[in-house]
Amino acid sequence: MQELTADAAIELRGIDKSFGSVHAVRGVSVRIERGSITGIVGENGAGKSTLMSILYGLYRADAGEILVDGRPVEMASPRDAIGHGIGMVHQHFMLVDSFTVLENLVLGAEGGALLARGLAAARTELARLARDYGLTVDPDARVADLSVGEQQRVEILKVLLRGARILILDEPSAVLTPQETDRLLQILRVLRDRGVTVVLITHKLREILAVTEKVIVMRRGEVVAERRTADTNAEDLAELMVGRKVRFDLDKAPARKGETLLAARHLSLVDGRGVRLLDDISLEVKAGEIVGIAGVSGNGQTELLQVLSGIRPPSGGEFEACGRKVDATHPVDPAEMRDLGVAHVPEDRLRQGLVPAFLASETSILGYQDREPFCHNYILDGPAVGKYCADLMERFDVRPRTPGLLSSSFSGGNQQKLILAREMARDPKVLLVGQPTRGVDIGAIEFIRRELVRSRDAGCAVLVVSVELEEILSLADRILVMFAGRIVGEVAAGQADERTLGLMMAGARAA
Amino acid sequence: MKRWVRPLIALLAAVSLGAVAHAQIVIKPAVVFSTGGKFDKSFNEGVWQGAERFKKETGIAVAEFEPSNETQFEQVLRRFAQRGQDPIIAVGFAQAVALEKVAKEFPNVHFTLIDSVVNLPNVQSVVFREQEGSFLVGMLAAMASKTGKIGFVGGMDIPLVRRFQCGFEQGIKYANPNAELITNMTGTTPAAWNDPGRGAELAKGQFDRGVDVVYAAAGSTGLGILQATRDRGKLGIGVDSNQNHLHPGNMLTSMLKRVDLAAYNSFKAAQDNQWKGGTQVLGLKEGGVDWALDKDNEKLITPQMKAAVDAAKAAIISGQIVVHDYMSNNSCKS
């Protein structure tokens, strides 16, 4: 073993870490080869982020040792990690929006009292990096004006400027469009070719297969497999991650449609500045069918869900849900919509669907807090809420099954399952779902999609908005495409293919 | 201040020489200031000066306390009484309620209350007829003014300050029925006693409206008022202690309120075993209020002005002129 460490950029030996009663990382040993791209995959909560945080000095391991270039080192803080040439690009960017790219790059490394000198040095360095790695960003652009993909490049540049030779990326594609993701993968290849060691943490198998040489699979805090990328495939990796066979295709019976439960006619929404966010939207959702709304993010899907769930009143047109007519002069509030049997799984679970600082049990009654059985005589029944939450967790396989844990302590997939459970538990007549599986791991994706289909088969009218075309194709019985606040096309599920839908989503063609 | 106090001290010395005959007793005096604190350039500071003088002359330590809220009045008065401090001076009208309560609990302890009245045998209440002194400086202001417009800047808008203003107004009208008085109050909270910046702004505003003599009855705020007066070359009138020396040539006079004497006399009387309860109303007649004339303002006071004011002073002392007290009916109309 000893002779092998010579070409390992990093070696972790017997790393162990617990948070209270949660054993997050269990005796993990891995080797990251120099000048390679190594993928670490695993479901949310598998311990991959914790492992990398230990490597980066954010957490201290309870046991085990870290070797960089074959020498044992102490990682007490990120400062140590940076000193050993390790840099980390976080999922959430740490940039000052109102600063220019250059100003962000020198932040924390201003190089003396006079900013101008540090800025000039950074500018030269930046030009070199752009030349060497093909990482082009306008140094004088304000970060706020950059696209998400460009901001991520700034983050990578920031790390490289600090002299990093080993780059850790934590779920880098979670916020990127498919095109931006491709661009990122291209950059990673160039970095590898120039000798940088890259560690890519993700749960998206497509990226792993596209760019890595080696994959490390983690499950429940342990490394369960290491594979040469060339020797594996998506099904194999998914099975290793989840611990059982995963089925990507959803086999569902044809829809048995009933009466129309949700109908919109010529809906429009105009914001305070006169921008038309929704324009003449008409649609119908019948009991027992799933209608999917496809489209590139930001084309009015968010607003459509807000209007249909009662959060925002429409500016024009009307819609009818479970017999209640709603228009600009007869608005409705979300509480009344719930009373009517319209449930809503919001697309941004952290900002809308739950309160991160609340307990899971509190999150499990959000929107239903003043109803039986949670509330009698204006007093919340704590034990009843706890028991209800425990039931939901059992039914929807939310882990860990601890109603007393903070909502923010759950992984994205488990948060989403809890929200879905809350909204589906009361057998709604209409179910509005935004981005059902965004940031959710594979095992949970499969589960969530099955639940949506089960709900449909129970006679619920389901409207799903998703930017993942594959999701729409596998779930929906009927597909509507939104572009620039309008519905530009409708396709029956059987006749849809990615190419035509993609063209419609780009506004190139109406069906 | 010392310049003009000297004759008074001489007078007092004469009085106390006479008192030497009395057997002196050992006392443990104490002062409870008002929430304004002892260095307020106003009457707390006057009391402090009186106490300091007593300390210096007799070598007797004076315990003191500056409360930070009104609830502490009662607490501290009681603590002083329990510790055997006697006599105890309570400064300011706000202490009246607390003092009444504590004085009943300790009938053998002597209390002196300044600026308000409590009717108990062991309480000496000292109040001043500020309206009388203000009347005199009002006359001077009216006679010195060329524009016929006179300003008054008060501190916190409370009846006591209105008493100053009302006396001042009567003096002005007495000297010149056509003169006009422009009044501003600095504020409605105790902060108004200590806001020189705002005082200066108010004074400047008055000057812009034609005022050429301003009476600053506003504690530390007055320092800003008088500074603005000097900057604009107008005339100012100080208050409580003699402030003529602040800006010689721009200070018409000062309205004197001798709280220092009240404090000193209370301690002195106790030491001489001559302390008496009851209410002392100190006006012109008793030397409790007066106007200041010294080398800093003698050029501004013409012989005619001095004669007129002296005549009015005599008339007030003799009762021929009665200056209306705002606080008698909470109105400046009698």
């Binding site: 919001p346 809308q352 991160p356 600082a357 807090q369 | 500056e66 809220n69 607490q75 909270t189």
Partner: protein, 365 residues
């Protein structure tokens, strides 16, 4: 993920950390006290004995704590709704106006059992009304509540001075204060109350308002964590979009939170006017509203924490006064410096000793 804040054992977090903070504060205080020539240990002894050394000093400590509980709760309730109510001072003051008006109008006709509850309700109602105006302006007009509540403190002060000087002043009074309240409108002092059950304590300003303050704590706890309105209020405070999604009416919740906050601030009037002064006086709020912000922050917005923080602030207030009383070199201003340091270390610098404790426990654990 707060990566840089590694978790500490619970008892360290709740118990040792605050103690370390207070110890640090007293260390700095000792240096300053020594510089002005007072033996720090002696000063500390005076401070502690002054706050807790006799039944009288305990009484005053608890009396101050009563005010701090009310204003701390007031700030905390608004804070849970994401609203920073700086106006506790003015709300307490106007609460006093309500209290005074009710008593002055009715104390001759009503017995204590009716008069006192009515006066308490009037305090709460006026305090709530004074908070309702900034709340309305924020909810419907978009004015920022921090700005408006600050301004309303000044308006309250000006209004009270005007009313006290011109309208409510007792006839013939030298000072701007109302006539004394009738016996039916006086909350019994703790001394009197304990005497009924045969316990003798020294007189102090402490009165039965303390019980009202503690009841309010329980009430706030139930409201915030055990009613659907409290749930909606907290949702709004943590995550307004989630509240909107849940169907909580943000405008109404803003009004509810602020009115409740103002009503709690009105409790200061109960303690001060019905309990101590027995008349309407100027400036009885004396900064309690502002200190309430520190109390709420230190108590982490939880009623139990607020009670503890209020006790600490009450002890500092009372012990500080005794310190100034007993030690001539320590002036009123020095006492404020000492209080400020304790607040600084246990409030703003609360995380200062954390790395040391972490190092200590990382090595052990």
């Amino acid at each position: 993920m707060s990566a840089l804040r590694r978790p500490l054992p619970g008892w360290v977090e709740i118990g040792l950390l605050p103690l370390a903070n207070i110890a640090l504060a007293f260390l700095v205080v000792s240096v300053i006290v020594a510089i002005i020539g007072v033996d720090p240990l002696h000063a500390l002894r005076l401070l502690v004995l002054g706050a807790l050394g006799s039944s009288e000093s305990i009484g005053y400590t608890l009396y101050y704590a009563t005010n701090f509980i009310f204003t701390g709760l007031a700030v905390a309730v608004a804070f849970h709704a994401g609203l920073f109510n700086i106006g506790g001072e003015g709300q307490a003051y106007i609460g006093g106006l309500g209290c005074g008006l009710a008593v002055l109008a009715l104390d001759r006709y009503l017995p204590g059992l009716l008069m006192i509850p009515l006066a308490i309700l009037a305090s709460a109602a006026f305090g709530a009304a004074w908070a309702a105006i900034p709340a309305w302006m924020q909810a419907w007009r978009g004015s920022h509540i921090v700005i408006t509540t600050i301004m309303f403190n000044f308006v309250a002060s000006a209004l009270m001075v005007y009313l006290m000087v011109n309208v409510l002043i007792a006839p013939g009074s030298m000072t701007p204060q109302s006539r004394g309240f009738g016996a039916s409108a006086q909350v019994p002092s703790m001394q009197a109350a304990l005497q009924w059950i045969g316990i003798a304590v020294a007189p102090s300003a402490l009165n039965l308002s303390l019980l009202l303050a503690l009841l309010s704590c329980v009430g706030v706890w139930i409201f915030l964590w055990h009613t659907p309105w409290g749930y909606g209020l907290r949702t709004m405070g943590h995550n307004p979009e989630a509240a909107l999604y849940a169907g909580t009416n943000l405008k109404r919740t803003t009004m509810l939170a602020m009115c409740l906050s103002g009503a709690l601030a009105g409790g200061v009037a109960v303690n001060e006017l019905l309990g101590v002064h027995h008349r309407l006086v100027l400036d009885f709020a004396a900064g309690y509203g502002f200190t309430g912000i520190a109390v709420a922050l230190m108590g982490r917005g939880h009623p139990l924490g607020i009670v503890l923080a209020a006790l600490l602030f009450g002890a500092l207030q009372q012990g500080g006064a005794e310190l100034a009383f007993e030690s001539p070199r320590i002036t009123r201003e020095m006492v404020v410096v000492i209080q400020g340091l304790v607040i600084l270390f246990s409030g703003a610098l609360v995380h200062l000793p954390r790395p040391w404790l972490q190092a200590l426990f990382a090595r052990r654990g």
